[in-house]
């Protein structure tokens, strides 16, 4: 449950259990309330189920058990989600330009023809301008650096004008300054009212700087402001080291 005085929820997960192989749940009994306009980080080691939670919220993965309740947005519809996968999940030598990748965000709702509509083009320019990456528009995606690829993925999500952004490891594989730029962009988007949920395994670079953190490993271990929950005890349990002797020299 995130700290936010606004009691309207963007979504609420109730007793979610899910996984990929029968009888081997990746996440178990997950309860999470996401207030509108919150900024939540999910921290955990590889295989802890953080990506599975994001995918379940994004509708990519059906929970075995439990329910997800979405709030209605201003237009009365279900919250619009902007999903940003890990940049390593796609082939960046694919023969498309930034314009095409960004426009994919609204391809399913922009008519059946193969062309990009005038409205879509205007939205692409608007989003790229807001992210200060106007000059990428006609570039081929293979020419982009890791940080630039990440921003193109952000643009593809933002072109949907989402109520909520789900980002899977948005700073993995990028350098220090790119990480700071990405965090700055996300902070600004959150200030503009977009609810943000991201996964990370970077404790010092990301997790401890977020307003609300959820530590998990298959189930939720603790949640709250980082300063309160980033304790040795919680971290040892999150990373499955509770029974191990600390390594020292």
């Amino acid at each position: 449950m995130a700290t936010d005085n606004n009691n309207a929820n963007e979504l609420e997960l109730k007793e979610i259990t899910s996984g990929y192989t029968y009888n081997h749940p990746v996440i178990e009994g997950i309860n999470m309330r996401v207030p509108k306009g919150s900024f939540i980080g999910i921290l955990g080691p590889s295989g802890s189920g953080k990506t599975t939670i994001l995918k379940t919220i994004a509708g990519l993965h059906k929970p075995w058990h439990g329910t997800i309740e979405f709030n209605r947005n201003k237009k009365g519809g279900k919250s619009i989600i902007g999903y940003v996968p890990q940049i390593q999940s796609v082939d960046w030598t694919f023969p498309v330009t930034v314009r095409e990748v960004v426009s994919m965000g609204i391809w399913n709702d922009s008519g059946v023809g193969p062309w990009i509509s005038k409205t879509a083009n205007e939205r692409i320019r608007y989003v790229l301008h807001n992210l200060e990456i106007d000059e990428y528009l006609t570039r081929h995606i293979s020419e982009l650096s890791g940080g630039e690829q990440q921003r193109v993925f952000h643009a593809r999500a933002l072109i949907r004008f989402p109520d909520m952004l789900l980002l899977d490891e948005p700073t993995s594989g990028v350098d220090y300054s790119t990480r700071e730029t990405i965090l700055g962009v996300l902070k600004k988007l959150n200030e503009d009212g977009i609810t943000i949920i991201l996964t990370t395994h970077d404790i010092s670079g990301i997790a401890k700087r977020l307003p609300w953190l959820v530590c998990m490993n298959k189930r939720i271990i603790s949640e709250g402001p980082p300063i309160e929950i980033l304790t040795n005890e919680n971290l040892l349990e999150t990373y499955g080291l509770a029974d191990n002797e600390p390594i020292g020299w």
Binding site: Y83, P95, V96, E100, M104, N108, V112, H140
Partner: protein, 275 residues
């Protein structure tokens, strides 16, 4: 027409990383064609039913099982081809029409074959006009496409059915054993020439149509099997594209001190030129 259609669809096949699907499906329809012949039904009825069933099975197996799609395609389609071979050998019914299906015979094309080719071309064109965006999104980033409401499984199934239609329509002209190259070669040649998707579609279609036309013409004069000649012309097209891509990378023209230069140089990791 056959070459252009194969070239057009081939672009999506190679980008999807499923070059083997064309190879597999073309072998699979052979089983259906032989069964149709043996029960005295229209060749295309068996090929269409069998081809669609194989396309569906390939999709489902690769989606649901732990094995990779190429292995799934290998098993399903080679078994289907084996059914055809088994039936031919047990009924001792090998004749010229089977030879044409296996290796292609342009001169033996009937009006019915021609109608089938025109139908396949129309279906492919309509599919690309109406499904291009959803298909490209699915190929590039299936997960996000699904999260954004694209019915990715439906798109993949329809793509496989269109591919099966093209394979069936092309089998008389090119032959099932050689069709995979006709599907893939123009697309990989086009990929060598450009990084732009729309140009790739155009180049692949033009290369497919040109190599098929020249291959067909050559087979007429050389009295050779049309499928094999067309495929060899496609391979030559691929060789020329690869050579062009190599030379373009090594020697490319650029402006220097107000003059255009063409000379050999390499690119460093920072994308600077070294002469």
């Amino acid at each position: 027409m056959v070459g252009g259609t194969c070239g057009l669809l081939g672009v999506y096949i190679i980008l999807r990383g499923m070059s083997y699907i064309g190879h597999g499906l073309s072998h699979a329809v052979f089983g259906g064609a032989v069964i149709s012949y043996i029960i005295n039904a229209n060749l295309y009825i068996g090929a269409v039913l069998w081809g669609f069933l194989s396309a569906f099975l390939i999709n489902e197996i690769s989606r649901r099982s732990k094995i990779k799609p190429d292995a799934a395609i290998g098993v399903v389609t080679t078994a289907s081809f084996a059914v055809g071979v088994l039936l031919i050998t047990t009924t001792r019914s090998f004749n010229r029409s089977f030879e044409a299906i296996l290796f292609g015979n342009i001169l033996g094309i009937t009006d019915q074959d021609l109608v089938m080719i025109i139908i396949a071309l129309m279906i492919t064109s309509l599919f690309i006009v109406f499904f291009h965006k959803r298909l490209l999104f699915t190929i590039f980033d299936k997960e996000t496409a699904k999260a954004y409401g694209v019915k990715t499984e439906r798109v993949e199934n329809i793509f496989s059915l269109v591919l099966a239609t093209v394979v069936i329509a092309s089998m008389s002209a090119i032959g099932v054993t050689l069709l995979a190259a006709a599907l893939v070669a123009p697309a990989v040649s086009a990929r060598m020439l450009t990084n732009n998707f729309h140009k790739m579609i155009l180049y692949s279609t033009v290369i497919g149509a040109t190599t098929s036309f020249s291959g067909m013409y050559a087979s007429f004069y050389l009295d050779s099997a049309s499928g094999a000649t067309i495929v060899l012309f496609s391979a030559i097209g691929f060789g020329i594209s690869a050579l062009y891509a190599f030379l373009k990378q090594k020697y490319h023209a650029h402006w220097h001190a107000g003059m255009i230069h063409v000379h050999s140089h390499s690119h460093t990791a920072e994308h600077r030129h070294e002469h």
